[in-house]
Structures are given as C-alpha cells and as structure tokens.
Symmetry: C2
Subunit: 346 residues, 2 copies
C-alpha cells in the first residue's frame, strides 16, 4: 500500500512535540536562578525541534507489533532525549559550531557547563521510562532500561572509534572500519533500538525482537550514509546545515575513504594535508577542492549506491523477519521509511 | 562501642576492590584496538584506587538495616562507578591536572575522548544494578535506579551552580549559596544516597529511608567542608594532593567566602583579582598570599568549626532517626564515621 511517509512522520513528530513537554519540569517552579538556567539549557536542543525519527519509529513499531502508542510513549520520549543528550556531547567532541540553525550548546555557555547539561539530560532518558513504570509494568520497564544501556554503550563505542581517528590524525581507514564506526555510532540508536523498544512495549517475544536487529542495522547504516551524503552533496536550503561541514570537521566518511583509495600518492597526501588542517584554518577553497575531487572520482555516487544497497538489503530481510507485525498502515509506513531514508533531502 | 573505623573502611575498600573487577568486561575479549583502549580508559580511574567511602557506607547501611552485603554489592559498585564517572567529567569541567597521583583523563587523551569515556562509565552505573536484578527483584532494582537518577540530577545541579560561578566570574556568594552548592554537589551522593541505597537493598520501609536524609545531608556537608579544609590546610604527604589546588582552580569554598566577608574593599578586590587569574597564571606566591590571609582572618578555623557543628547535628539526628538499624558493629561504624569524616587527614 502506498503511504505518504512524509505526512506520517510529520504527524508523529507533532505528537512527540506535544507529549515531550509533559516530561520537562516547568522552570516556573524553580526558585534559584542558576537552576532555572540549567533547566532551560537541558531542554534547549529538544525545544529547537528536530525530525523526531527515532521516537516516530518506536511508535510505529509498537502499533505494528500489536501494541498502542500510549504505552510506547515513554520509550519514544526516552529515545528522543537520548538523541538530544548525544548531540550536546557530540557537538563538543566534534568541534561543531551550529545545531538546528543556532549555536551549539558549548558555543552558547562554554564546554564546562554544556557537558554537565548533557549529563543532566541523560539522566532524564531513564526518568521518562520510570515515570510510567506502573503502566508499563516492572518487567518491561527494566527491559527498556537495559536496551537504553546497551544502546548507550554501542553509541559510545562508535564515537570513541571516530574521535580516536580524529585525535590521532589517522587516515588509513578501510571501508569496513567506516561501517563498524557508523554502525555503532548511529545504526543502533537511530533505527535498530527504536524499533526494538517499540516491539518490547507491545510485548513482542525475545525471538521477534532479535529478528529486528538483522534488518535494523543495515537500515540505520543506509540512513547514516545518506546523512553523510547530504552533508556533502545536499541542497543547503532543504538540508538546513552548511554543505561540506564534514570536510571542515575532518570526518572520515565513506566518500572520503573511497576518494583516498582511488588517488595516487601525491594527490592523496595533498588531500590528507587539507583534511588535517584545524577547522578554523580550512577555507572554502579547501572544501571545494575536496568536493570537486569526490565528484570527479565518483565518491559521492559510490556512497549513494552503497546506501541504496544497504536499504535494499534491509527491506529484503524486513519482509522475511516481520511476519509478527500486523499488516496495516504502520507496517507500510516502516516499509516506506526504509526507502525514504535514502531519498530524503533533509 | 569503640570501633576502629580506619580498619573497617580498609576492609570494605579491599572487598570493593576485589568485587568491582567482576563488573568490568575483560579487555582480552575485545578484538578492535580502539575498543580495547576505550575499555581500558573506562576503568582507568576505578583501578587507580580510592577510599571507596560511598560503597563502604552502602554495605554498612545494608547490614545495619538487617540485610546482607551480597545483596547490596551491586548498589555499592554502582555508587563507586558513579563517583568515577563524576570525576572524569568534573576534572575536565574544573580544569584539574591530576587525579589520584596521575594525570586526569582529559590530560591523558584529550577532552573529546575523555567526555565520551565518562559517558560510557555512567551507563555502567545502571548496568551494575541490572546485572543482579534477579537477586534484587524487579521492585528493588527499579527503586535503586530511581535513587541513582535523583542523585545524578542533584549532583548536576550542584555542579551547574559551582561552574556558573566560575564561568561568570562571580564572587558575591553568601554562606547559604555555598551550602546549597556543596549539598547538591556532594552531600547527596557521598553520604545520603549510599546509606539510603543500602537500606533499600535491606528492604527498609520508605518511611525509614526518608529519615536517613535528615542526617545524611549534614553528614555529607561536613565531609565536603573537611575536604575543602584539607585541600588548603592538610598535610600534603597524607592528603596525597597538592595543597592549595582549590585556590589555583578558583573554587568558592566556605573559607574563601568567610575571608571575602571579613575584608575591607581594597583588600577584597585584591583577593578577587588573584582568584580570577587563570590557573596557569597563578603563582605559588598567589596561593601563599590567600592562604596567609585565611589563616590570619580565621577562615580556616571557621570552616573547621562549621564542619564540626554539622557532624554533631548529623550525629544527634542519627541517634533519633536510626532506631530501625540493629545495634552492632555496622551501626557503630556508621556512628564513628560521622566523627571520622571531620578528623580524617586524607
């Protein structure tokens, strides 16, 4: 069945926007000035908006597995809060300047306060689940918390690998190194765990939940590669961030690894020389130079192709592994979402 | 009954040291080099040792409330891991150089990796409780997780207040501002929650647990003031850290607030001028100047006196509020510990 996935996502996003406010303590009840500020900063990224893809996926999965949105809402909110916690710390770790059209938190208040704010947000990830533990029941609540912990550890592993490359100035990654890093940094928490957690809320069996991982991981990888592709080849007006940011930040994307693999030694060391420069020293000419080479050597097309292959693989496994999902608009939406993540423009 | 509290603490500390290893994944099972490194870094602070006062208190409380050490061990370990997570992030936020006689984590590997390592450790705080959820039962496990979340949020509030003062160069604190900050930053997680969590493991009633807070908070405050006092007036050989570190870091201690309150305008602005200097620009003469004034104006004695008063208040409430604890070596040890924290030299 044809599904207007953009409108489904918009509807879920509006639902999350209205629900998430119930999980944020009102600043008006706080007397001490510094704590009012802490409270505001904790919800700064969350209230800037966002696509809410992770909580949306969680709600769709819950209904597809025979549950309901109300029971799955705490898990959905906790995933969105986790995402916002990750962004606060990652923006600092990556040396990013802007997030959702405004300065990054560490640029607003300095890294010391920003890191602490992120820690506060992370505690709220679990609080969201505990707030509704009566409705969920203790067993499901504990299962969801365990998912959140596994997801955190995997995400931190991916982040550690990526930052290690940056800090140690390493540029000898193979394709598999990228896949390992991106899978850990993104796939688990963006695709796999949201769907798993929705299924847990619906009471799906452990066996069914394990089946999700098989297609959730390639689905998440396809999402990340498209994200990297948009960062270098997207339409700035639609994408909403400056194009080429990953080159400024020195990120080891699939496109960069493809490019380095295809260059002869002298050009390769020239590219590495540019990528190694600190962000503040990189010029628009540097970005254009790398982007031009990526276009010339087919690196952008290569990544686009890989993202398509991964999405196709995910869809194939999805069809085999999702017999416990009931047919209906939610299952159709998840199916469409796998295509959508590689065709999206933002 | 007289208790040799130092030897009790030593015995608990040895027990924690041997047990905590069961909660650390073995690096030998990890193939990827970067992840071996992440694993090692996650346990770096934990394996440097420490007084293990928080887990020790948790175990003593569990037995005093009629439980046993085995059931309380996951809660004890999670408190120690929380402490180590806090240290990683705080050392960065405070701009500290050394921790337990070695370089701070952000000095070893840079702040980007260190913050991420801290995040990984924090997830393990909850993992420790979940690992033993069968033995604890779901209800107790969820209660302990809730304690951990409340404790995190309070600690982050205290930390936010303190860093705000530093970042905004504020020096107009009143005594109550210090107490609020120190109570949030330290008292809850150092004294109050370890005892509460031990009692929860032992199955104490909610009413009994609330009674702990009344004496746990002044107990924790006494601990923190003594900590600050040792930092400025301790014996370096016994204390194990450089004396005057809090002056180098510009900390608003009770002693500093007392000093500023007692100075006339010109001397006051001279002191603030010195305290405001970045750490790297402060000289030994600066530290000696502030320390000399503190001695002269009785600021060190004032703090020592306050710490004693708080410990006495804690002991008085303890005697009233601890009738549910059975009399025996554990209750005696907790009683002695309240005196010990203000008499300790390290």
């Amino acid at each position: 069945m044809a599904v207007d996935i953009k409108s489904v996502l918009k509807q879920k996003s509006a639902l999350i926007d209205s629900e998430i406010k119930n999980y944020l303590p009102a600043t008006s009840s706080i007397i001490r000035l510094e704590l009012k500020e802490l409270n505001d900063l904790m919800w700064e990224y969350t209230l800037r908006g966002g696509k809410r893809i992770r909580p949306g996926l969680c709600l769709l999965s819950a209904v597809a597995y025979g549950g309901d949105e109300k029971t799955a809402m705490p898990a959905a909110i906790s995933l969105e809060l986790f995402h916002n916690f990750v962004l606060v710390h990652d923006d600092f770790e990556d040396g990013s300047d802007e997030r959702r059209g405004k300065p990054c938190l560490h640029k607003m208040v300095g890294p010391e306060l920003a890191i602490n704010v992120g820690d506060g947000v992370y505690a709220k990830v679990f609080e969201a689940i505990l707030l509704k533990k009566e409705e969920l029941g203790s067993e499901k609540a504990l299962k969801l918390i365990k998912e959140m912990l596994d997801l955190t550890y995997r995400t931190m592993q991916g982040q550690h690998v990526e930052i290690s490359w940056m800090v140690k100035n390493k540029f000898d990654q193979k394709f598999d190194d990228y896949y390992f890093m991106a899978e850990h940094k993104t796939s688990w928490y963006t695709a796999c765990y949201p769907i798993r957690m929705g299924a847990i809320c619906a009471g799906a069996s452990d066996e069914e939940i394990e089946k999700i991982t098989e297609w959730g991981v390639p689905f998440g990888l396809a999402f990340q590669i498209q994200d990297d592709w948009l960062n270098l080849a997207g339409d700035e007006a639609k994408y909403g961030k400056e194009i080429g940011g990953d080159i400024l930040e020195g990120k080891r994307t699939l496109m960069l690894i493809h490019l380095l693999n295809g260059l002869e030694a002298s050009e390769k060391s020239r590219v590495i020389g540019v990528m190694k420069k600190p962000r503040a020293q990189k010029t628009q000419a540097d970005v254009d130079y790398i982007l031009g080479l990526m276009r010339e050597k087919g690196s952008l097309d290569y990544a686009k192709e890989k993202s398509k292959e991964l999405a196709e693989k995910a869809k194939e496994i999805f069809e085999r592994n999702s017999s416990a999902m009931r047919e209906g608009p939610e299952k159709d939406a998840i199916r469409s979402l796998i295509d959508y993540v590689i065709n999206r423009e933002a």
